[in-house]
């Protein structure tokens, strides 16, 4: 009995549900109805409307295309309240703009889960090319980007779970031509059955042992518009005039992304993470912005990454900010090919960074003004804090490493740099005023061994003596001879030395 299936539209000869003219279409799913639209025909979408579409109601809609996109709208698409499941052999949903409010949407796609494509690729116009998810549950399993927008992506509230899986291809001229890749794309090596990102400067001689992702498989991507300026068939010019490419995740949005490629990425744009909850796993960057990355009262848990957070300027604010970053390279990296001055500014929040590369790396300046920052892990050749200028103006900073790089430092808040004894992984470190172990300024259990500790704290006072305890034993004493005191074997500074713990 087909009537039990609600509306069922199935075509094997073309578009299952569509319009030939530019109309304004309202689809209402009544009374918890369950409805199905599907097609199986070469190069035809299942639901294809040349116009504006607004789908709403209390029911659900399942759309499947076995040979092209499931839901395609040539103008603006609005989805309210419904449950929508799309399954596309190309995109799940594609439109000029996509706004989803209060709905539950699941997208399985060979290409992008949701794609918003501007009609004009030579002019930036954020009235189109955007994706908005407002108080929406969105689940994506894609072989392309989870969400891709030409201009911007805005996620406000709701819960989103995105998983992308990509295909790796080895370095060859034919693969470069077939997939439109450049040499810089071949930045992965194979490790057993898994792939691992390596630094671009490690790739000196490209060979078939280097791999690239055949296509973009980012979690969320915005920007940038490109066009072929000289009609040679290659998109060679990026639209930057009046452009404001951006991704904003805000208002309690709870976002989980497991992605081969960057989890959150803007080309020629910024990323704002404002009162958002992100849990990220990736082979590449957790969050990448070509311009500024602004974090304010956000929780960001990066379980695995190549670089955790990257932007031209990274600013961390908000007492509720909570960042835990695990990375194979830099934890937080201020870098961009688009600007010459790159900075990291920590004004507030809690940060814990585990990095195999530099912990915090900013070419121009790294400024601590507030919050609590813990950096662990980098070994030789990298530093816990790496910048032309590190400024300690406020907040709590505990950065430990082995053979850390000595950077140009300045401090308006008392800070010491200790290098000497090796503290083993698992050691409980406490920093105390004298031997006052009852009231440590700071205590922390190391995950990795280290022999250099950089510590800055509002309660450190010039002229006072502090101890570094390893468990119950005092391993070092530091007398703060100046606002910035360097102590230890390789620092050439005064003081230092072992001691005995309290009994």
């Amino acid at each position: 009995m087909s009537i039990l299936d609600g509306v069922s539209i199935s075509s094997s000869s073309g578009i299952a549900f569509g319009s030939s003219n530019t109309i304004k279409l309202y689809v209402v799913l009544l009374n918890n109805s369950v409805n199905t639209i599907e097609n199986d025909f070469l190069d035809k979408n299942a639901f294809h409307v040349k116009g504006y579409v607004h789908i709403q109601g209390s029911g659900s809609l399942n759309i499947t295309s076995k040979q092209k996109s499931a839901l395609k709208v040539s103008k603006d698409l609005f989805i309210n309240d419904i449950t929508l499941n799309v399954n596309g052999a190309a995109h799940g949903i594609t439109a000029q703009s996509v706004t989803i409010d209060g709905a539950s949407v699941s997208s399985t796609a060979i290409k992008d889960g949701i794609q918003a494509e501007s009609s004009d690729n030579t002019t930036y116009n954020d009235a189109e090319g955007f994706v908005k998810l407002i108080n929406t549950k969105y689940t994506a399993n894609t072989n392309g980007d989870g969400i891709q927008a030409d201009t911007y992506v805005y996620v406000s509230g709701g819960e989103q779970n995105i998983k992308t899986i990509g295909e790796f291809v080895s370095y060859s001229t034919s693969n470069m031509e077939t997939y439109g890749l450049s040499t810089d794309d071949f930045k992965f090596v194979k490790s057993g059955s898994a792939y691992k990102r390596v630094a671009k400067d490690e790739i000196r001689y490209l060979s078939s042992s280097y791999y690239a992702l055949a296509n973009s498989v980012k979690g969320i991507k915005a920007g940038a518009l490109e066009y072929d300026s000289d009609s040679d068939g290659e998109e060679d010019t990026v639209v930057t005039t009046n452009a404001d490419y951006r991704i904003g995740i805000a208002h309690g949005a709870k976002l989980t992304i497991d992605s081969f490629d960057d989890c959150v990425h803007t080309n020629y744009g910024k990323v704002d993470l404002l009162r958002a909850n992100l849990t990220l796993s990736t082979l590449d960057d957790g969050v990448h912005a070509d311009y500024n990355l602004n974090i304010n009262n956000a929780s960001i848990i990066i379980n695995s990454s190549y670089e955790g957070l990257e932007g031209a300027n990274v600013t961390v604010d908000g007492s509720e900010t909570n960042i835990v970053s695990n990375s194979d390279d830099d934890g937080i990296n201020a870098a961009s090919d688009l600007v010459s001055q790159t900075n990291i500014t920590i004004n507030d929040g809690y940060l814990r960074v585990y990095a195999s590369g530099d912990g915090l790396d900013a070419n121009t300046s790294l400024i601590f003004s507030g919050g609590t920052t813990v950096v662990e892990g980098p070994g030789s050749g990298n530093g816990s804090l790496d910048s032309d200028l590190v400024k300690f103006n406020g907040g709590i900073v505990f950065a430990c490493s082995t053979s850390g790089m000595t950077e140009q430092m300045s401090a308006t808040q008392a800070t010491f740099v200790y290098q000497g004894s090796t503290f083993s992984s698992g050691a409980l470190i406490a920093i105390t005023l004298g031997s006052d172990t009852e009231n440590p300024l700071f205590s922390y259990t190391l995950k990795q061994s280290c022999n250099q500790i950089i510590f800055s704290h509002p309660d450190l006072k010039q002229g006072s003596t502090y101890s570094i305890y390893n468990g119950s034993s005092s391993s070092a004493t530091i007398t703060m001879s100046s606002t910035l005191t360097k102590v230890g074997s390789s620092q050439g500074g005064p003081g230092g030395g072992g001691g005995h713990g309290p009994h």
């Binding site: 569509g18 709590i396 700071f442 205590s443």
Partner: protein, 115 residues
């Protein structure tokens, strides 16, 4: 058609407070996965919200327009139920077409009563 407009976001001032704790213990799980549960505005709306307002209420008409041959050729309100090989909308440019999908539970009950 009855419309209801919700002002999506009301921008309020963001109150930032500094980290006041001086004695900090960052042992295991002290702040690993503490989610931020509150939802409040923080200024981001200006950059992203534009003038969008939710519009999800449509008054269902008491009668519907008819169509044939799986083709909707005029602006109007149409009720779809059951199975179709395809639906093609050929209404003229900028026409407003309303399509209502419904699960025919009444047929289901009727069928079971008599079977």
């Amino acid at each position: 058609m009855k419309k209801r407009t919700f002002p999506l976001l009301v921008v309020s001032a963001l109150m930032l407070c500094g980290c006041s704790s001086s004695n900090v213990n960052l042992d295991e799980n002290n702040y690993d996965t503490d989610p931020i549960s509150g939802i409040s505005d923080d200024g981001v709306a200006n950059d992203y919200d534009s003038d969008y307002t939710k519009d999800s209420d449509v008054e269902i008409p008491s009668s519907f327009d008819s169509f044939s041959d799986n083709t909707i050729s005029e602006a109007g309100h149409y009720y779809l139920q059951g199975s179709y090989p395809s639906i093609s909308i050929t209404a003229s440019k900028n026409s407003e077409v309303y399509v209502y999908f419904r699960w025919s539970i009444h047929f289901f009950i009727l069928w079971n009563c008599f079977w």
